[in-house]
């Protein structure tokens, strides 16, 4: 036992030694904490978990910090939110925010909501794509709408309170069609129902369906972003296809309320620089993530607008009253 402990001690020393050695000049002691906890509501291996771990691996040496990723799962993010909202606002705990934390805040009204967290910095936008099975007759979104106009449209989203669901509802409204919009218990269920022809189209993150795209069992019809994606230049946006809808799935960091400005500044600088790192760029563009650095003021406005939009949508669709 003692030997194991000794070995662990040596490894830890090596790890911190390496971390300090790799740090660019000026970074040592630049951050007030040696250990920083990054909280996510996703389980190990889930979207936000992978995002945090990839980022922490590269940000650690730069900031001279050991990052710990803590998976506080359950409650659709409610538990993770309250974990961070009740943490000391000293820059030692942050939360990986995605649209789902706004949905949970609005729909489940937990004790702590998105409004109890301070926006720190946004890192990425994750792009939502519209896909169909390879042998379906649909070549463009207009083809999909032709069926939908007859009342036989069948569209799918991964989960009920999700950005994908919202995107489809908006698309139906923009195209002025009545389509059955079916939510699922997760991406896997949805992909299966698109593959077996139960659904005309599905909406999800490009990364989720990569395997099926590469195997040419699924095809992309459009992306929900404002502009075409660098990784998918041949796929038109939904806007270009004639329907004025764009949705953005963000991935950013939120902190406990009243996080001091100097901490926020440190993070703004670190994230901006990290996104420029060529090695990291290769990783995130491979995962079809678009860098979308937003400093605190901009991110705060973005979150506020996003929440207002979502709330209006939920009220209109009758989920909230």
């Amino acid at each position: 036992m003692n030997r194991v402990r000794a070995i662990l001690g040596i490894l830890a020393a090596l790890a911190t030694g390496c971390a300090a050695g790799d740090a660019p000049p000026g970074a040592e002691g630049g951050y007030p904490h040696a250990i920083v906890t990054l909280v996510t509501h996703s389980s190990p291996g889930g979207g936000s978990d992978v995002f945090l771990r990839e980022m922490a691996r590269r940000l650690g040496p730069r900031m001279g910090v050991d990052f710990v990723v803590e998976n506080v799962t359950g409650g659709g993010g409610a538990r993770a939110m309250s974990r961070v909202a009740n943490a000391p606002p000293d820059g030692s705990v942050f939360y990986a925010a995605t649209p789902s934390f706004i949905f949970t805040s609005l729909m489940s009204r937990p004790a702590n909501t998105y409004a109890d967290l301070d926006p720190i910095v946004n890192v990425f936008l994750d792009q939502e794509v519209v896909y169909t099975r390879a042998e379906s007759g649909f070549e463009t979104l207009a083809d999909v709408m032709r069926i939908a106009r007859t009342g036989a449209g069948r569209w799918g989203a991964a989960s009920p309170g999700s950005l994908e669901r919202q995107a489809l509802e908006r698309l139906a409204r923009a195209a002025d069609v009545e389509a059955a919009i079916i939510s699922h218990d997760g991406g896997g269920d949805l992909i299966l129902n698109v593959l077996n022809g139960t659904l005309d189209i599905g909406v999800g993150e490009a990364q989720e369906i990569r395997g099926q795209l590469d195997a040419e069992r699924l095809r992309l019809l459009a992306v929900f972003s404002e502009a075409r994606l660098p990784g998918l230049p041949e796929v038109p946006t939904v806007g270009e296809s004639g329907y004025d809808v764009a949705v953005t799935k963000f991935r950013g960091l939120m902190g406990p309320p009243n996080t001091p400005p100097d901490i926020v500044e440190t993070w703004e600088g670190a994230v901006r620089d990290l996104l420029e790192d060529p090695e990291y760029r290769e990783v995130y563009s491979g995962a079809m993530l678009s860098p979308a650095f937003m400093p605190r003021p901009e991110f705060a406005r973005f979150i506020e607008a996003f929440a207002a939009d979502t709330e209006a949508f939920l009220r209109e669709s009758g989920v909230l009253d």
Binding site: G74, G75, G76, A180, G188, L192, N193, T198
Partner: protein, 495 residues
């Protein structure tokens, strides 16, 4: 064939073989403790598999099942107390053999038959699940709904003596399944403002509470079991002549085990007793049965180990747990985000290959560990019961806590345990509750999805061929088992 090669490769490149051996060892110990059934041994391990690589985790659980089915025969033979329900049939001839000074021989027969049964079961499992997987891509929401209905229909056959109590238990499970976010709109239901309930009640908490915690509560109220003498701690492998004599009961045991395992709701106990009966009927020396016949040990022990593999057929191909142990294994799959059923073959064929390889390794290691574990089992059975039970409590609760680090989960598990005690005392079966919890959301969400697709027209269920077939089978299962129930009651009334 490809699966076999892949599986063998996994045995040498991944820790699967290790997990299999560990599971077998744990299972034998658990099985040897009276009151700790195979499903409880598995439930105890379940929370600890959370941090493991998925394949090893599942193999660990499945191997525990294998080990426990053999382990149960140890106290049955040595102290006339079956360690598992299925071993109750082994006792009938195993204990008389021990009294005649042939305890080691009886244990050897049990081990030898168990290993054989395990291999037969594995072959059946591999042969049956693959063709069923071909259906994978054709499963629409309508088919999933029908599948869930079929699973719930099984309640009719495993309800125990009272159909009404079985249905009530199933209903309770379905009610628990409605807690959490609405699967279609996302609106919270029955969460009472509690964020911990937004994701619903995890089946694992219900299972561990109902099966393991309630058993411990009840065990606490019962006296200690008989002590085992350590002189019998040597296994004697059956000789050539005896082995030849055992071929027939083993054949009977494996056929009965294969059939009973595949049918959800039958399980190892029924298979053991059925095969014991058949072995006696076909035996050349039926008068020896009940007085220490080696055949009487071989048949049930072959059968229950065959079931340990074949009970996975309905679980893997349709996601329906047909027995308590299969339900726990389902929990193991779910903890790792693997959903047994048609999709598993599409998305995680690896996990299935790993499971086959692991079961193979488990049966091989059973030969070695089965003998080596005997002294340990005897030592364990002779410990003070309160100390053992306290230790198991600690194991369960720390395990549950480790899943989400949530005290709320702990409370839910204990509450499920209390409910389990009440249900057992009142004679309600437990498995229907688990089926309700597991299948409730599947049935509900796919029913609603199907109606969204059709704009509210129920005819959509009849347009889907898979759904029609599954619903027909469900109807047959329900009518058949209710009919059997009715006939046996009439028979009783006449007698």
């Amino acid at each position: 064939m490809e699966t076999v090669v892949d599986g063998l490769r996994m045995l040498v490149t991944t820790p699967i073989a290790l997990a299999a051996a560990a599971g077998v060892a744990w299972g034998i110990l658990g099985g040897a403790l009276p009151g700790i059934s195979p499903s409880i041994s598995m439930a105890l391990l379940l929370p600890f598999t959370y941090g493991m690589e998925p394949r090893s985790a599942i193999v660990l659980l499945a191997a525990t099942y294998v080990g426990a089915e053999y382990g149960g025969s140890i106290p049955a033979i040595l102290i006339r107390t079956p360690g598992t329900n299925a071993a109750a049939a082994t006792l009938l001839d195993g204990y008389p053999m021990k009294l005649a000074g042939r305890g080691g021989e009886a244990l050897g027969i049990s081990l030898y038959s168990g290993v054989l049964g395990g291999f037969v079961g594995l072959l059946v499992l591999m042969a049956l699940t693959r063709p069923l997987a071909e259906l994978a891509l054709r499963f629409t929401p309508m088919s999933y709904f029908a599948l869930g209905v079929l699973g719930l229909g099984v309640i009719a056959s495993l309800a125990g003596p009272s159909l009404l109590k079985g249905l009530a238990a199933g209903l309770l499970g379905l009610m628990v399944a409605t807690i959490g976010s609405d699967p279609v709109s996302g609106v919270p239901r029955f969460t009472f403002g509690q964020p911990d309930l937004l994701d619903g009640v995890a089946p694992i908490l219900v299972m561990v509470g109902l099966f393991a915690v309630s058993e411990l509560f009840l065990q606490a109220g019962q006296g200690a079991w008989q002590k085992a003498s350590s002189e019998s701690a040597r296994i004697r492998w059956p000789g050539t002549r005896l082995r030849r004599r055992l071929v027939k009961p083993q054949l009977i045991g494996s056929v009965v085990g294969a059939v009973e395992g595949v049918i959800p709701g039958a399980g190892g106990t029924i298979a053991s007793f059925l095969s014991y009966n058949e072995a006696r009927r076909w035996s050349r020396a039926p008068e020896e049965f009940g007085r220490g016949s080696p055949e009487g040990v071989a048949a049930p022990e072959t059968a229950n180990n065959t079931v340990a593999a074949t009970a996975l057929v309905p679980l893997l191909s349709f996601g329906i747990p047909g027995s308590n142990s299969a339900a726990i294994l389902l929990g193991g799959f779910l903890v790792h985000g693997l959903i047994p059923g048609p999709r598993l073959f599409e998305e995680n064929a690896d996990a299935i290959t790993g499971l086959y390889a692991g079961l193979f390794a488990a049966n091989v290691s059973l030969i070695v560990i089965g003998g080596a574990a005997l002294p340990v089992c005897l030592w364990l059975v002779n410990r003070s019961k309160p100390v053992l039970m306290a230790f198991i409590y600690a194991l369960i609760l720390s395990g549950i806590y480790s899943i989400n680090g949530s005290l709320f989960d702990l409370g839910l598990t204990l509450a499920a345990g209390m409910a389990g005690v009440v249900m057992r005392v009142l004679g309600f079966p437990l498995l229907p509750v688990v089926l309700g919890v597991v299948l409730g959301s599947l049935v509900e969400s796919n029913y609603r999805r199907a109606l969204l697709l059709s704009g509210g027209d129920h005819a959509i269920f009849l347009e889907d061929p898979v759904a029609v077939v599954l619903l027909s089978i469900a109807a047959l299962v329900v009518v058949g088992s209710v009919g059997t129930r009715f006939r046996s009651r009439r028979k009783e009334a006449h007698a």
